[in-house]
């Protein structure tokens, strides 16, 4: 059984694996051969010549430095690939994943929801924004050679580009309790056209639109609306900006910052504002937070065109 190579990085990972495997095989065969030759030649009772060899500094240095140089070579190769594995391309499309004991819940920006399944288009880089509702899980697709732990109350990301249409296994790789081994699913990679049709067929209310509804429903707009009487930070164009904090430091307003600002508002207080925002920890789930974050990301120039502001 050969593991399929179904992502843009799979072949690169396998090349490194095979190179290291060849190197190690060479070392194992070499050392074993020498050991066996010595064991046979110098076994008790043979007439081999046995004057004790002198200790050789040169020999020691050789077998210290040669492995060191080889290891550094493998390290360099690996780091090069590692940085690629960890850096999503700019045009990667976001998909949101919430893990919980023992299922994978997926939300697409267009409102399509899936459980234990993830549909992706072939050839398009996908960036998964993942969080967990309870314990630590790990999103693992062997055919793509990608894996990332999914942590509670924090976003981790994972990117890949599927290169072959097909259905691939998805595993939870971090032990997460009783049914850990059943926390499996599948990733369906589809040709771009099929994927567009699938999105169409499963379209729901868009994630940002869900977020906007929640924003009003939860009373966020009561303070954060520019016309509100309360002195609260302006959220337009917030995403991606650097925010000065009350303690003099600065924070980048990324997904994690927005997530924590909603659930743990006391953690990072924006400079010039009173820490009066209530925490929504326990009141809303991770999926709602995802929707709110998706909405906040669209606020700004685009919201000028929204009906609400016209």
């Amino acid at each position: 059984m050969i593991l399929p190579q179904a992502s843009s990085v799979a072949a690169n990972v396998d090349d490194l694996f095979n190179a290291l495997l060849a190197l190690c095989t060479l070392v194992v065969v070499g050392v074993f051969t020498v050991m066996i030759v010595f064991c046979v030649k110098y076994r008790r009772g043979t007439a081999a010549e046995r004057t004790p060899p002198r200790q050789h500094l040169g020999v020691e240095l050789t077998w210290t430095l040669v492995p060191f140089v080889l290891f550094m070579g493998i390290f360099g190769w690996s780091v090069h690939l590692w940085i690629k594995l960890r850096t999503p391309p700019k045009d990667a499309a976001p998909v949101y994943v919430v893990a919980k004991q023992w299922m994978w819940k997926v939300q697409h920006p267009g409102g399509q929801r899936e459980i234990d399944q993830l549909h992706v288009p072939v050839g398009q880089p996908i960036r998964l924004m993942m969080t967990s509702q309870d314990v630590i899980h790990s999103f693992y697709v062997p055919a793509f050679r990608v894996k990332q732990d999914v942590l509670p109350d924090r976003y981790t990301q994972l990117w890949f580009t599927a290169t072959k249409a097909g259905t691939y296994h998805l595993f939870c790789a971090e032990f997460c309790g009783t049914d850990h081994s059943r926390m499996r699913g599948r990733v369906v990679a589809m040709a771009a056209g099929d994927y567009a049709r699938w999105l169409q067929a499963h379209a729901g209310v868009g994630l940002a639109a869900q977020g906007r509804a929640l924003f009003r429903q939860l009373g966020c707009s009561g303070c954060h609306d520019p016309r509100a009487g309360v002195h609260a930070p302006d959220l337009d164009d917030l995403y991606g900006r650097t925010v000065p904090l009350a303690d003099g430091s600065q924070a980048l307003a990324d997904e994690r910052y927005l997530h924590d600002a909603i659930l743990l508002p006391k953690k990072q207080i924006a400079a010039g504002y009173e820490p009066i925002m209530p925490s929504f920890e326990g009141r809303i789930g991770e999926e709602d937070v995802l929707a709110l974050v998706a909405y906040l990301k669209t606020r700004g120039t685009q919201t000028e065109n929204d009906d609400e502001h016209r």
Binding site: L20, T64, F71, S78, Y140
Partner: protein, 533 residues
């Protein structure tokens, strides 16, 4: 190495009292070593039973033999028991306790009472762990990852945590004892560069024990605080950070791997020099390799966390350090091989174990390179590749070396010989059984089978069946020594002081040694392994 005048053989340490009381109140390092030996043997077979249950379940892809809950508890129990109640105390607390004073020409360790106290701590810790098992077990995995262990698991986490906490102090005290002993009780002429490599290994491992184990104790205390009192340290719902736990845990648990393998390297250096009847090749390089491994071992913990949410750059630093620590391991393998060159090699059981160790350690060490390479680790971590890798090091390596050492020093410890034919047979059977059990797991891991899976995809079955078949052979090969060594205790021929015609101070005193080891403190005039040539 030295000569000791021996008048009529004095009473051996085994004849210094026969009642249970004489054993349970002994201050003699040799008797304490035996007490540890009994304890770790019992835990080894208990942990082995849990492993047998795991391998039986995995014969079929469906989870059909035991429930998922039972399966999770079985592998957790296996891990907790084998790591803390067998592997960590195995060589240091038995062979180390017995041999360290003998090898440096001392009458006992520096603090004999503390030595006995650490054995009692070991037993109390063990009782907590057994209580945990009897009351229903624990299902967190031996790694106790948070927030699962603190807020979500409904099993008896606290009992196991308390058990491990207590047994940790047993290794701290043993470490303290060894360090002071090596510093203060060496016989005249036993300079640092004349120490047998086993003593160097014990010294290095003692340093790691006293520096790393307190971190484990703190981490477990924090778990208790969070689980019992809801103090938010690791659970994000309480404002904590679960990845912080992993940093703390691996800061101890990676050095702990070296607590298991450094003593094994020490034992093997003794066995190979004796088997080849040669000085160790590159003694000074071997010493510095031991020190290097012990020091750098503290700086590589983050390689367990490449996909855990650690920063990309931190992972790069941990990766390069992990490659660097492979260099001293490579040096050791090359030097052992070179020690065979122009030797006068005999293949008695200890030598077979030692050669088996070198082979298995090499396969385990080299596969560590795959895991140190960040880009490969992404795919391999948390799969059976990791399981195979650390079993090659800890079972193929540490257990082979432990058993090799037990066979080599058995005549010294008991004063009896065992059946050499059976011993060789067991060593060879073990080597093949081990490879059949764990080599298929490398393949399973590369093909993506995650570890700790109660049920798995049918495509993985062939390798799992092979692995379970191997485990059966391995189990038999572990039971055999119990039988022929047990037989040797009663019926074995008497061993002389030095049945192997070996060098080393421990062979210059009767077997079994008298209470205070040497009739006269020996004087050392040359380095170790002075085999005639």
């Amino acid at each position: 190495m030295s000569t000791v005048e021996r008048p009529a053989p004095p009473r051996s340490y085994l004849e210094e009292g026969f009642g249970l009381r004489s054993w349970l109140t002994t201050h003699d390092h040799k008797r304490i070593a035996i007490l540890y030996g009994i304890g770790i043997t019992a835990f080894f077979f208990l942990g082995g039973l849990a492993a047998a249950l795991v391998r039986l379940e995995l014969v079929t892809p469906a989870g059909d033999l035991v429930s998922a809950e039972t399966y999770n508890k079985a592998f957790t129990f296996h891990g907790v028991v084998m790591v803390w109640f067998f592997l960590i105390p195995s060589i240091p607390a038995t062979l180390g306790n017995f041999l360290l004073p003998l090898m440096i020409g001392a009458r006992d360790v520096a603090f004999p009472r503390l030595n006995l106290f650490s054995w009692y701590l070991y037993i109390v810790g063990g009782l907590f762990t057994l209580a945990c098992l009897l009351l229903g077990g624990i299902d967190t995995g031996w790694t106790f990852y948070t927030p699962f262990s603190t807020m979500f698991s409904n099993s008896h986490v606290m009992l196991a945590v308390v058990g491990v906490f207590i047994v940790g102090f047993s290794s701290i005290f043993t470490g303290l004892n060894f360090i002071v002993t090596v510093h203060t009780l060496r016989a005249p002429g036993m300079t640092w560069m004349r120490l047998p490599l086993f003593v160097w290994a014990m010294y290095a491992v003692a340093l790691v024990m006293i520096l790393a184990t307190p971190v484990l104790a703190m981490t477990l205390s924090l778990i208790a605080l969070e689980r019992l009192f809801g103090v938010g340290i690791f659970d994000p719902a309480l404002g904590g950070d679960p990845v912080l736990f992993q940093h703390f845990f691996w800061f101890y648990s990676h050095p702990a791997v070296y607590i298991m393998i450094l003593p094994a390297m020490g034992v093997v250096s003794e066995l190979i020099t004796h088997g080849a009847r040669r000085r160790i090749f590159g003694y000074q390089f071997m010493v510095w390799a031991i020190i290097g491994i012990a020091v750098v071992g503290f700086l590589v913990w983050g390689h367990h966390m490449f996909v855990a949410g650690q920063s990309m750059y931190a992972s790069i630093v941990f990766s390069i350090l992990s490659f660097i620590i492979a260099v001293p391991s490579a040096i050791k393998v090359f030097n052992w091989t070179a020690t065979l060159y122009k030797g006068d090699i005999s293949f008695d059981a200890p030598m077979l174990y030692a050669l088996g160790f070198v082979g298995l350690f090499m396969l385990g060490g080299l596969t560590g390179l795959f895991l140190a390479a960040t880009a490969l680790d992404v795919n391999l971590t948390d799969t059976y590749f990791v399981v195979a890798h650390f079993h090659y090091i800890m079972v193929g390596g540490a257990v082979m070396a432990y058993l090799g050492g037990v066979h080599y020093w058995w005549p010294k410890i008991t004063g009896r010989l065992y059946s050499e034919a059976w011993a060789r047979f067991a060593a060879i059977l073990m080597f093949f059984g081990f490879n059949l059990t764990f080599f298929p797991q490398y393949i399973l891991g590369w093909e993506g089978m995650p570890r700790r899976y109660h049920e798995y995809l049918p495509q993985y079955q062939v390798w799992n069946v092979l692995s379970s078949a191997g485990a059966t052979i391995l189990g038999v090969s572990y039971l055999l020594p119990l039988l022929y060594l047990g037989w040797s205790l009663r019926r074995g021929a008497r061993a002389g002081a030095n049945p192997w015609d070996a060098t080393g101070l421990e062979w210059q005193t009767p077997s079994p040694p008298p209470l205070h080891n040497f009739a006269q403190t020996p004087t050392v005039t040359e380095g170790p392994y002075a085999y005639r040539q």
